[in-house]
């Protein structure tokens, strides 16, 4: 790399550091106020992460923990021995949380469950030290021991020393704006990216100007520059635009040990170290310890830092566990071992000095090169001690005007020590000067005897003395002589806060009073300030704040969110807010939205009881407040911050079982016992949050509650929207709502589709019944037809001339020789025809009857064929109820006789057997007559049709080389 190296070595730092350490030993520092929550007590946290919804996630040795300000919930990888200690947390752009573990495992959190990420290539077996998603959506994983991995198209690729990576032990990973991955190793920094799919690595090491090869931490700041934390040599910044290092902290003077974490802010950073505690690094290095009970050990090990969306700085250390502080508040309660208290007036001048007074003292503070405050001195300062200064103002020429209680006004030029004193003798209306303000060469004094005004004669020689004073008293139109505050606005009006006569404005020599008792709850006006739209805000002694703009008046009291009605000072924070200081702290009021944020004891305030107007804004925009317990500095945050709790519906329970509730979910009619768990994220003071919720569709009134659960048992079917809003003060107006819509369906028997379906079903059933009946009638008709045909066939057969001719021939041959037998024969013949007539109308007859009929028939045939026709039976297990269509067997036998040769040499053998329970088999040996009898097949077809009409198994016919087999099903009963 061809980076130019610009090294700023500020030798003064060595001196500063020494000085600082000395001063720290003396016990003064501007400190944030760290607090913690009981739920976090004893928790050792190595990583702090805030997701896009505002929830804080903690990486610990015992797994991933979720913290909502009230409760901690642990998320563990399922069945994962070893994958417990969390070493990396990242949220991708789809809102999926990725978790890296000490043992190389990687997990993703979806639907409240950690699922292992299992690429085909396997996960690393060493610590995951960083996770990042590049603008193309590729996931990058840094490891401590295996180099860098990236995931492309579902596959995991590795970048290690063979690809040019400086070392495989990666401590830290950061992505830059160009979509490149920066990793810090023992060999400096490696910048990795893909170009046309190829791995690219560029290394930055000592040779390129990096002060130290061991890079422990990388963080991108808001300007896109890379902050680099090193093992031995502190901090440096890589300027992306010029490709150069800025090394604000000389390598020689860094005495704080390895850098473990960096939190970049605007122009500075909070830095955690492994041996030097917590630092701010900006124009210098300052160690932060903390005000009050939670002190960050100056030799402690800081594990991680986070700034959340509320503007809290979270800090995890080995000595304090997890604590957090307001990023914007710094407290100064002693300086050079002298406690600061009972501050009456404060002024930040244009030179960057802070002046403050108590009843007996007047002090000046200036900044050491590190930016830490220290006691300063200036000529003639001694002469102002004991003057009971209660108001201060710096004029355009750099003179300080100091109003006293009882001794008039001093005009003081700090650089030269020039001091002028104005009393009633010099024309001042009264010597108790409560407020001083100016507008160009015009200076106003508010006193307990009216107001005075002087005009500086000459800008070139502003130091002229004496000055001509012009005064206004009650009778001059002021209305009252006790004036608490004077303010000159941008339009040239001068405003006066009076003791009982409201607020008065002087314009073009005329006083105008705003003291309508119907309009204002109090006419005792303590403080006046102007917002950026020209609105005049004034605070009253005990009735809140009013804003005047043209003819409109806006009131802000407790119901508007103000935490205290007795406001002692108002100041425009230059950032769109009005600050109202009261006895417990201050409220920050958004001019645009009217939202109010309170900073009270949870922000670190103890006893404020600020004197009237002990507030001043410095050149950098910091606001300095004098309190009973010292000086508080409010630094308006660089980044936007949330001014009210963010509401989140955490989970929905149906009959106390969690159910995922996506927007517009449908529930069944009996899934109507719903519970909503929700939270208002307000980490600064979770206990102050209260909620309003309602279920539109069920009730319209908001229900106010401090619980984090709402239950609705037995909801009737309908459309519902659960709505939730939260506040940390009394004002729910404009509170953003979280809502979730759902639907409970009516029971199915009330649904339109069900009724329709039932109707259609009934119609179908009716149709089916009709169809079935028709079918059965058709079938019966068809059967009848068949029967008639069969009977006709049978009759036709039986009375066919051959049968009769044969029978009569047989009869003739025996009639003479054996008349007795002939009589029997004729009887059988008659039986046969009678039986036929008897059975032909029946659909079924029993097998016995059929066999009897068959015997008669056989008797007749035997007489003709003798032993040439042999019939054998094997009907042993005939079922008692077995039935058969009448004349079936006779027809089959007849068929066999008709088609086969029957002679002494070739007897026809017919065998009838029962096959199993259900079929009757008729088989005969096959010896077909050739060409004599044309086979029409009508006989068999006839039988087959009858069976089909009866709806039973069909008859099966088989013909082999030697046999003809017919299987007919036996039917069970006569139906």
């Amino acid at each position: 790399m061809k980076g130019r190296l610009v090294r700023y070595r500020w030798k003064a730092y060595a001196l500063m550091t020494t000085l600082y350490v000395l001063c720290n030993a003396a016990g003064f520092a501007q400190s944030p106020y760290f607090q913690t929550h009981a739920a976090l007590d004893g928790l050792r946290v190595s990583l702090i992460f805030e997701d896009s919804r505002g929830f804080v996630w903690l990486g610990t040795r015992d797994g991933l923990k979720h913290y909502d300000g009230n409760t901690l919930q642990t998320y563990l990888m399922p069945d994962s021995l070893g994958a417990v200690s969390v070493t990396a947390i990242y949220e991708d752009r789809d809102g999926v949380l990725w978790i890296g573990y000490e043992n190389g495992s990687i997990g993703t959190l979806r639907l409240q469950e950690v699922k292992p990420y299992l690429p085909e290539e396997g996960t690393p077996i060493v610590r995951i030290s960083g996770i990042w998603q590049d603008p193309q959506g590729l996931m990058w994983f840094a490891t401590y021991g295996e180099g860098l991995y990236f995931q492309r198209a579902g596959r995991l690729y590795n970048i290690d020393q063979e690809d040019g990576l400086s070392d495989t032990d990666i401590y830290t990973l950061a992505g830059d704006e160009k979509g490149r991955v920066w990793v810090g190793t023992d060999g400096g920094i490696s910048i990795c990216w893909l170009e046309a799919g190829e791995k690219q690595v560029r290394n930055i090491g000592v040779g390129e100007g990096l002060p130290d090869n061991i890079v422990r931490e990388l963080q991108v700041d808001m300007a896109g520059n890379m902050w680099i934390g090193m093992y031995d040599h502190g901090i440096c910044v890589y300027d992306m635009k010029s490709d150069t290092f800025r090394i604000p902290i000389s390598a020689d003077s860094w005495t704080y040990g390895p850098v473990s974490t960096i939190l970049p802010m605007k122009g500075k950073a909070w830095v955690g170290t492994e041996g030097g505690g917590l630092l701010t690094v900006g124009e210098g290095v300052r160690q932060l310890t903390g005000k009050g009970d939670v002190q960050v050990a100056p030799n402690g090990k800081i594990l991680d830092l986070l700034r959340d969306g509320e503007g809290n700085i979270w800090l995890s250390s080995n000595t304090n566990g997890l604590v957090f502080a307001q990023e914007s508040l710094l407290f100064l309660d002693q300086i050079n071992s002298e406690p600061i208290g009972n501050v009456q007036a404060i002024l930040a001048d244009r030179q960057g000095h802070i002046w403050y007074s108590t009843e007996t003292s007047f002090r000046m503070l200036n900044k050491s090169p590190s930016g830490a405050l220290q006691r300063g001195n200036s000529p003639s300062l001694d002469r102002l001690q004991g003057e009971n200064i209660i108001s201060m103002y710096e004029d355009a020429a750099g003179y300080l005007w100091l109003g006293t209680f009882g001794n008039g006004v001093f005009r003081y030029l700090p650089l030269e020590g020039t001091l002028h004193h104005y009393t009633e003798a010099e024309g001042l209306i009264n010597e108790n000067v409560l407020s001083i303000k100016g507008n160009g060469p015009e200076i106003w004094f508010a006193t307990l005897g009216g107001v005075s005004r002087c005009r500086l004669p000459d800008a070139a020689d502003p130091g002229g003395f004496p000055l001509e004073m012009e005064s206004f008293r009650r009778e001059d139109g002021l209305g009252i002589n006790y004036i608490y505050y004077v303010h000159t606005d941008k339009s040239g009006k001068t405003w006066f806060g009076t003791d009982g006569k409201g607020i008065a404005a002087l314009e073009n020599g005329q006083f105008h009073h705003y003291a309508d008792t119907a309009l204002f709850k109090s006419n005792k006006v303590y403080s006046i300030a102007e917002d950026d739209q020209g609105g005049i805000w004034f605070s009253t002694a005990d009735a809140g704040i009013y804003r005047l703009l043209g003819d409109s008046v806006r009131y802000l009291g407790l119901e508007g969110g103000l935490s205290n009605l007795a406001i002692s000072a108002l100041v425009n924070d230059g950032n769109g807010h009005m600050m109202a200081i009261h006895s417990k702290g201050f409220d920050l009021i958004s001019v645009a939205s009217g939202l109010v944020n309170s900073y009270e004891e949870t922000a670190g305030f103890e006893e404020v009881d600020a004197a009237l107007n002990a507030v001043s804004i410095d050149q950098q925009g910091s606001i300095w407040m004098g309190t009973q317990q010292g000086i508080v500095r409010y630094v308006p945050p660089d980044l936007p911050f949330r001014m009210r709790p963010a509401t989140r519906i955490e989970q929905t329970l149906m009959l106390l079982n969690p159910v995922p509730l996506s927007e517009g979910r449908h529930f069944a009619y009996d899934e109507n016992d719903l519970t909503f768990d929700y939270v208002g994220l307000w980490y600064r003071a979770p206990g102050k949050v209260h909620y309003q919720y309602r279920l539109s569709g069920h009730n319209t009134e908001w229900i106010t509650s401090q619980d984090r659960r709402a239950t609705y048992p037995n909801l009737p079917p309908g459309e519902y929207v659960f709505q939730l809003r939260a506040t940390a003060n009394d004002n729910f107006d404009h509170a953003p709502m979280s809502s979730v819509a759902f639907h409970i369906r009516p029971p199915f028997w009330q649904e339109v589709w069900f009724l329709l379906a039932v109707g259609i079903g009934l119609l179908l059933f009716l149709y089916w019944i009709i169809r079935d009946r028709e079918k059965r009638l058709e079938k019966a008709a068809s059967l009848k037809q068949q029967m008639i045909e069969f009977q006709f066939d049978t009759l036709k057969n039986q009375v066919n001339p051959h049968f009769l001719f044969n029978s009569f021939n047989t009869l003739i041959s025996i009639i003479e020789e054996e008349p007795k037998i002939a009589v029997g024969y004729v009887e059988k013949l008659a039986d046969f025809f009678r039986n036929m007539l008897e059975y032909r109308d029946q659909q079924l007859i029993s097998l016995e009857e059929e066999l009897e009929l068959l015997n008669t028939f056989l008797f007749l045939q035997k007489k003709r064929y003798g032993e040439n026709l042999q019939l054998t039976y094997e009907i042993t297990a005939a079922q008692p109820g077995a039935c058969i269509p009448p004349l079936t067997l006779q027809m089959l036998i007849e068929n066999a006789i008709k088609h086969n040769v029957i002679s002494a040499r070739k007897p026809l053998l017919i065998h009838i057997s029962i096959n199993g329970d259900s079929t009757l088999r008729v088989q005969n040996n096959l010896q077909k007559k050739r060409g004599v009898v044309p086979s029409t097949g009508t006989g068999l077809q006839n039988i087959r049709s009858r069976f089909e009409l009866l709806g039973r198994d069909t008859m099966r016919v088989r013909e082999t080389e030697t046999e003809f087999i017919v299987d007919i099903p036996l039917l069970n009963s006569i139906t």
Partner: protein, 185 residues
Amino acid sequence: MIAILISIIGMWSPAIPTEAERVFLTQSGTIQFSSEAPLELIEADSDQLKGAIDTDKRTFAFTVEMTSFEGFNSPLQREHFNEIYMESTRFPKSKFAGKIIEEIDFSKPGTYTIRAKGKLTLHGLTQERIIRCQLVVAESELQIAADFSVLLVEHDISIPRVVHQKIAEEIKVKVRAVFTPKTGS
């Protein structure tokens, strides 16, 4: 690679000629520790520190037998050291092996401050450490001087409450060693 170095120290085997140019060895480095407790100062040392440095790969390994430490304030103390605190039969050796962070030119004589990053194994427990040391590159030898400290708690060495005042929780360690190139035979 580090394993190879450890095995070299252990075996002192005939060398592969190409290694001779880049591997430096010592068999008799000194290692001294001191425990500065409020009631007692304990010191002991060993001159049997074995070590190897591969100047090409910038890797190194050191090892010392725990029983080779001598000194102490009494023979009983030495016995306690081996039997109670270090458990020298279970964990006979202490090791430190790893890589050198700084890319220095070993062919150029001079004094360098380097950081050695590696795994320090003591009492069977391994901790990753970065140890700063002075390296003198002289004509055909390397001299190493390192001062560092060891926290007993990091290596699970527990001290009975009775002797709390006599043994420091942080032990100071001093290492001095002269390395010579590994010869071919």
